[in-house]
Amino acid sequence: MSEFIQLLLSGLSSGSIYALAAVGFTLLWQASQTINFAQGEFVMIPAFFVLALSVKLGFPVWLAMPLAIILSVLILGALFKRLIVEPMHKHGTIPLVIATIALGILLKEMVKEFYSPLGQPFPSLFPQDVFSIGGAAISIPDIANFTIAMGTIVALQLFLSRTRTGRSMQATAQNPDVAEILGVDIKRMVMYTFLINGALAAIASILITPVYLAKFSNGEVLGLVAFIAAIVGGFNQIRGALVGGLLLGVVDNFSAAYFSSEYRQALPMILLIVIILVRPQGLLGTSEGRTV
């Protein structure tokens, strides 16, 4: 039982970080029909911003991290939209998808070439202590990661539902024609979505990289997991991406412990196939969530 709780908690912890990436993925799709296959690299890169700022430029880590989030918002948010999404979007969804795949490869290779092909140690925000409750060993980073990731998603959800700007973003995503005739600045709302995705990716990066070390190839698994989490949960819902992310984290942990660590990587795929066969709209999705 204590092992079960342990696995559940650490699964929820990594799952909540997957959820951050998956929520961003879903937001981009909703707001601008951008399927961002560079999302994994978007989570890989901010860790290197932190390292470049702290190790190479000598900023203290506490300053490097917020600066890295700002850089991510600007580069992975605004610049990504201006330089890649806007020019490619008019050619359709598929050319844009291919462009994001190319971007992912470019980012990965750039890190390998210009920073290092080796895994770099990455500072953790939290003490690595473990405490025990009822025999279950609970690590402080797990609890902290889960709290921060969930807090971020809840804050985002509140922003989208409780503020006029958030509701204008929802209107833009759900019915852009109507948003436009009501005078919503839809271009700006779409831009906000990209900025938010940049921030979510950066937070995910800072939380997850201490576990994996900072490595150019980190995005390969993360991007796939974000994609699968978004599909499993329901492509058109933030809640869906959240549930998908958490589910994937927990399934991953349990399968490694109780089933087979060799097949660990295959299980998310199996989950994806089952969901697509049985419930193609995803666990929480609606088949016609978008009104065009």
């Binding site: 006029r164 509701r167 204008s168 929802q170 209107a171 759900q174 019915n175 024609d177 109507v178 948003a179 436009e180 005739i181 009501l182 005078g183 919503v184 600045d185 009104t291």
Partner: protein, 242 residues
């Protein structure tokens, strides 16, 4: 109030409006009728800044508004209710209404106006926290009309308000429009149900191939056999005095 002068425009390189010209007076209801593809809805999009205008002028109280964005036009008192369903499905009725005032600087006034339109349309108050998608088609249309009224528009462009509504609701929408006209609002409407629409309008305008073919008092058009023959399904001889 609103004047179109020799307006040419369309989608991309396709021209739909071929020199559309007409003028509608303040505090009146004008119904635009014409066969499919005549450019009725396109005229609305042109006025509301959603179309490529190739040449010509759109004068709003004497000022050329070609090239203005929907937001700028809203701030000049124009509002547009397109055909079909135009609610934000997952937002509540209240928040859909709020979006009708999203361009306003004074949001406390928007709040007060939401209360007023909910008084005017009690159904909306009853369902204020429901998602818009959960309303019936007729209720959604009422929500759209109410939302369009939020900023006290001076000119309402309303496209096919009767589609999908029961005769009762159509009559109610028409009564609402007439009451607005009596308060000084100018209304330009496209309506499939041409006879009923002309019967409640002050003026009628026949559009064909993007050009104004006839423009007269609504009762004159209703009585004109040509109009009946062309656009009212040829029933004018039996149904209305020729």
């Amino acid at each position: 109030m609103l004047e179109l002068k020799n307006l040419f425009g369309g989608y991309g390189k396709i021209t739909i409006l071929n020199g559309t010209t007409f003028k509608i007076p303040e505090a009146s209801i004008t119904t635009v009728i014409g066969p499919n593809g005549a450019g009725k809805s396109t005229v609305f999009k042109a006025i509301f800044g959603l179309l490529n205008i190739h040449s010509g002028e759109i004068l709003l109280n004497g000022e050329n508004v070609v090239g203005l964005t929907p937001k700028q036009l809203i701030n000049k008192g124009v509002t547009y209710v397109p055909q079909g369903r135009n609610v934000v499905p997952q937002l509540s009725v209240y928040h859909n209404l709020e979006l009708g005032g999203i361009t306003a600087d004074d949001q406390s006034r928007v709040k007060a106006r939401i209360e007023q339109v909910m008084d005017q349309f009690p159904m909306l108050r009853k369902f204020r926290d429901r998602k818009a998608i959960e309303l019936s088609g007729g209720q959604q249309k009422q929500l759209e009309v109410a939302r369009a009224l939020l900023l006290d528009p001076k000119l309402i462009l309303i496209d096919e308000p009767s589609i999908g509504l029961s005769p009762n609701l159509v009559a109610e929408v028409f009564r609402t429009l007439q009451a607005l006209r009596d308060q000084g609002v100018t209304i330009l409407m496209v309506e499939q149900n041409a006879k009923a629409a002309l019967a409640m309008s002050d003026y009628g305008l026949v559009l064909e191939l993007g050009q104004t073919r006839m423009h007269d008092r609504a009762d004159v058009l209703l009585a004109d056999p040509k109009v009946g023959h062309l656009f009212l399904g040829g029933h004018i001889e039996e149904d209305a005095p020729a």
